[in-house]
């Protein structure tokens, strides 16, 4: 299932040109300049490349979902590749470049968190020609704090926990007396321990019997850096996975909110704004904003801070923000349907001012592309599971969209963070409607009306996306037992709203069992989007079989052309 991705690593121009020189220091050094910093991450990249598929295999759901290993690898590769021309530069210049690249190239949720790690380095190494333990310890703390800041609902038992452990270990050392290689030894041991402990903090990991993929990814990066400083260990071997701690404990509920960047409670006002000023403190702004509402996401720098929060009354958030700096790009979206109707009626009173807004969406598969095109999408970004587009890809598509008001539909849980980042970085007014699946995105698209203003569109699109249930049929990449269902490697599995509900060898049985679980009622519509491995005839036959089982339910067959999933099912 990961063959395509791995092939592309080996054929990339980058690996072909630099693979010849393995990055190592001839002797341990206590301070590193810009070249040393580059060496650390070049070494990390080499080690990571050997470990991509092992990290991917740790993904909690046995589907090609999000590919943490791939996303971190692609992000890290861009960082190293684009920073390499800075040979002979200061550690400050290289770290700043790395942070800029990471922010633009971050892929997936784990990539976005990794970008915060690099931003931490840029802050910790600011103004340095070279750096040692003191600066590194400071950088790790900064990165850790930024990562927690960026995520709306920090979840322990993830890469965040590993970042905390690493920062604490580094700062607990005898600074500035500690040696750099000692510090890297210590933080790598700390990282491995923290990774081993992740199943004790996150029930879904314990149930799946794995350690956290993102945490392991960071551990591999640090190990690569350690081997560079140490100068003795090879950098191109697979790393042993830490033994998960306490795996026999009782199972918890699967967390659907696993590392979700934003929580989508649908009430009150979704308030978003940009604060610009000097010496802004995102942390204290976040504290203020969090005390006023829920789902607070506050990211940014000293000069620009983006605020997103759900509140019953947007007034206090606006007042607090105005007191902090210059406020712009204020977007207040009413999430309460009664109020939506009220404001729609109010708008009707005014002369209709057509606000041209455009939709940018992420899909893959020629059928899906044709469907979203027929529904009036302006720009399509190729991507999905196993291929998360970068922030840059999204930004470019937003830039091409023929409107200043852009609505972005990520259509994948793991692309939402990159979409939010793109929305923040764009010069245009961009709103992310956080669709987690393609059926949700298509549902949202149906509610898009180019005659309406962006805020009304977004409210309607969020509601429409929420009303769609998504089912998926794919193959298990490894043996697993989840929700009391034992799955064999290579078997078909049915997922309803990302929860494993059926398995078997017969595709119509798996589909039928999936639809039974969905609790269909008369008048419901089921759309079967068939993937590239299914013929139109087989899809029609499956629809006919299902039609006989579910009376009063309409079943429509549409080509999706997606990879890995024989069927993606929209239930409404």
């Amino acid at each position: 299932m990961y063959v395509n991705c791995l092939t592309s690593y080996h054929t990339s121009p980058y690996t072909a040109t630099v693979d010849t020189t393995k990055p190592t220091l001839t002797a341990p050094r206590n301070r590193l300049d810009g070249d040393g910093l580059l060496g650390m991450f070049l070494s990390a990249l080499h080690l990571f490349e050997r470990n991509v598929d092992r990290i991917n295999a740790l993904n909690v759901f046995p589907v090609p979902d999000g590919d943490t290993g791939t996303n971190m690898y692609l992000t890290l590769r861009s960082v190293v590749e684009e920073s390499r021309p800075l040979q002979g530069a200061s550690s400050a210049a290289v770290s700043r470049k790395m942070a800029d690249v990471a922010l633009m190239e971050a892929k997936g949720n784990s990539g976005v968190i990794l970008s915060q790690f690099f931003r931490g380095l840029a802050i910790g190494l600011e103004g340095t020609a070279d750096f040692g333990c003191t600066e590194l310890a400071r950088s790790l703390s900064e990165g850790r704090n930024l990562a927690y800041t960026a995520i709306g609902n920090p979840v322990e038992g993830t890469i965040l926990t590993v970042m905390t452990s690493v920062a604490e270990t580094a700062n607990a050392m005898d600074l500035p007396a500690a040696q750099l290689n000692e510090m890297l030894d210590a933080i790598c041991s700390g990282a491995k321990e923290a990774v081993a402990l992740t199943p004790t903090m996150l029930p879904v990991l314990m149930q799946a019997g794995v350690v956290d993929a993102g945490g392991q990814g960071l551990s591999v990066i640090l190990e690569g850096a350690r081997r560079y400083v140490d100068g003795t260990s090879p950098v191109d071997e697979e790393m042993e996975l830490p033994e998960p701690v306490g795996i026999d404990g009782h199972a918890g509920t699967v967390s659907h909110e696993f590392l979700a960047a934003t929580d989508e409670e649908q009430y009150g006002y979704c308030t978003q704004l940009l604060i610009e000023g000097d010496k802004l403190d995102p942390a204290s702004i976040r504290e203020t904003v969090s005390s006023l509402g829920v789902s607070a996401v506050v990211v940014g720098t000293e000069s620009t801070v983006k605020v997103h929060v759900h509140v019953a009354d947007p007034g206090p958030v606006l007042s607090a923000s105005v007191a902090i700096g210059v406020v712009s790009q204020v977007k207040v979206e009413n999430m309460d349907s009664q109020h939506v109707e009220f404001s729609a009626a109010r708008r009707q009173d005014q002369v209709a001012q057509p606000l041209e807004s455009a939709v940018v969406t992420v899909v893959r598969g020629k059928g899906f592309e044709a469907v979203v095109n027929s529904l009036g999408v302006s720009e399509i970004v190729q991507g999905g599971d196993t291929m998360n587009p970068s922030v840059k890809d999204l930004l470019e598509a937003v830039g091409r969209a023929p409107s200043e008001q852009v609505i972005l539909l990520p259509n994948n849980r793991n692309i939402i963070p990159a979409a939010l980042q793109a929305a923040k970085l764009s010069d245009k007014s961009v709103t992310v409607v956080a669709s987690e699946t393609i059926p949700q995105g298509i549902g949202a698209l149906l509610s898009f009306n180019p005659d309406r203003d962006s805020a009304t569109n977004v409210a309607a699109m969020e509601e429409a996306a929420d009303s769609i249930k998504t089912g998926e049929v794919t193959r298990a990449v490894r043996e697993v037992e989840l929700n009391g269902i034992a799955v064999k490697e290579g078997s078909l599995i049915g997922l309803l709203e990302r929860v494993l509900v059926s398995t078997g060898e017969d595709i119509e049985n798996v589909l039928s069992s999936l639809l039974h679980q969905a609790g269909l009622a008369e008048g419901d519509l089921v759309t079967l989007y068939y993937g590239e491995e299914i013929t139109a005839g087989d899809a029609a036959a499956a629809a006919a079989t299902l039609g006989a089982c579910f009376e009063g339910v309409e079943i429509e067959v549409v080509e999706g052309g997606q990879f890995h999933y024989p069927f993606i099912v929209s239930i409404e």
């Binding site: 109707e341 009173d349 469907v371 027929s374 529904l375 009306n449 759309t527 309409e554």
Partner: protein, 284 residues
């Protein structure tokens, strides 16, 4: 003071209701091939939808001739002090033009005011009802015409179709072109704005399309009067009407009416719609 109100058959006003309001309806024409019928006069809605869904020939429609209007104006002019003639949007039909021409031909000597409602179906019907009520209370021809013109901005008409096929083939897609060409089966919804068809939204199930119609109706609150329309599903329309009862002033109920043959040529079977008139703003 006797002022007569005239409209055309695209108002979809039920015949008995029009009679009770003393409104005269001039029929448009609907033809299947060479067979031509007077809307709701020589063909009933039942017969029409039967032929529409089972026949091989698609219907076409045509405006009343100026002569049709002359005949009506001549007759009403005999004992009226004025005539207010209110018709469907002039952007999509020549009916308004026929009426204007008839003004110059008729023997009637009383003043005749022709009003372009910029509406269709019960969006037009609601304006006509308001004008007819004023006329029945003895308003002058200028007063009735003014009431009709003021009602245009208060009137709304929107509908949800099983398919856009009929609207598109009939050449009345207007500004809702974006609805055409979807690869998914859609229930398209349209709304009349500035005399033309605009997109209201797209849904894919009957439940959601009904919810969308109701939600749209509620967005226009406060509402003075409302009519639920259907082409072939009376019971569904009656249910929607019952659900929207609370939107109206106490003691009044929504009407249920049918898209007649001419409007039905564009809506097709399975269509549902709402015509309503909002309460006048109390501020200025």
């Amino acid at each position: 003071m006797v002022v007569k109100v005239v409209t055309d058959s695209t108002s979809d006003l039920p015949a008995d209701y029009a009679k009770s309001l003393d409104v005269t309806i001039v029929p448009l024409n609907v033809s299947f091939g060479t067979e031509s019928f007077k809307d709701n006069v020589t063909i009933t809605a039942d017969d029409f939808y039967q032929r529409l869904t089972t026949g091989t020939v698609l219907p076409t429609t045509s405006q009343p001739s100026p002569g049709d209007f002359v005949e009506v104006y001549d007759r009403l002019g005999e004992d009226a002090d004025g005539i207010v003639s209110i018709h469907l949007s002039s952007k999509e039909s020549g009916t308004h033009n026929s009426a204007v021409q008839a003004q110059g031909i008729t023997k009637a000597t009383c003043p005749i005011v022709v009003v372009d409602s910029e509406q269709f179906s019960m969006g037009l019907g609601m304006i006509v009802i308001k004008a007819a009520e004023a006329a029945s209370h003895g308003a002058s021809v200028e007063e009735v015409a003014t009431i009709a013109r003021n009602a245009i901005s208060l009137s709304q008409c929107f509908a949800s179709f099983d398919t856009l096929e009929y609207l598109e083939r009939g050449g009345r897609i207007g500004k809702a072109k974006a609805l055409v060409g979807s690869l998914l089966k859609l229930k398209p919804a349209i709304i009349i704005r500035d005399g033309q068809v605009h997109e209201l939204g797209k849904t894919r199930t009957l439940v959601k399309s009904i919810a969308q119609l109701k939600e749209t109706a509620r967005s226009f609150a406060p509402v003075e009067a409302l009519c639920v329309l259907h082409s072939t599903t009376h019971d569904v329309a009656a249910e929607i009407a019952a659900d929207l009862n609370d939107l109206l002033p106490e003691g009044t109920e929504p009407l249920v009416a049918r898209f007649g043959p001419v409007i039905g040529t564009y809506t097709g079977p399975g269509a549902l719609g709402i015509g309503l008139i909002r309460k006048e703003s109390t501020e200025g």
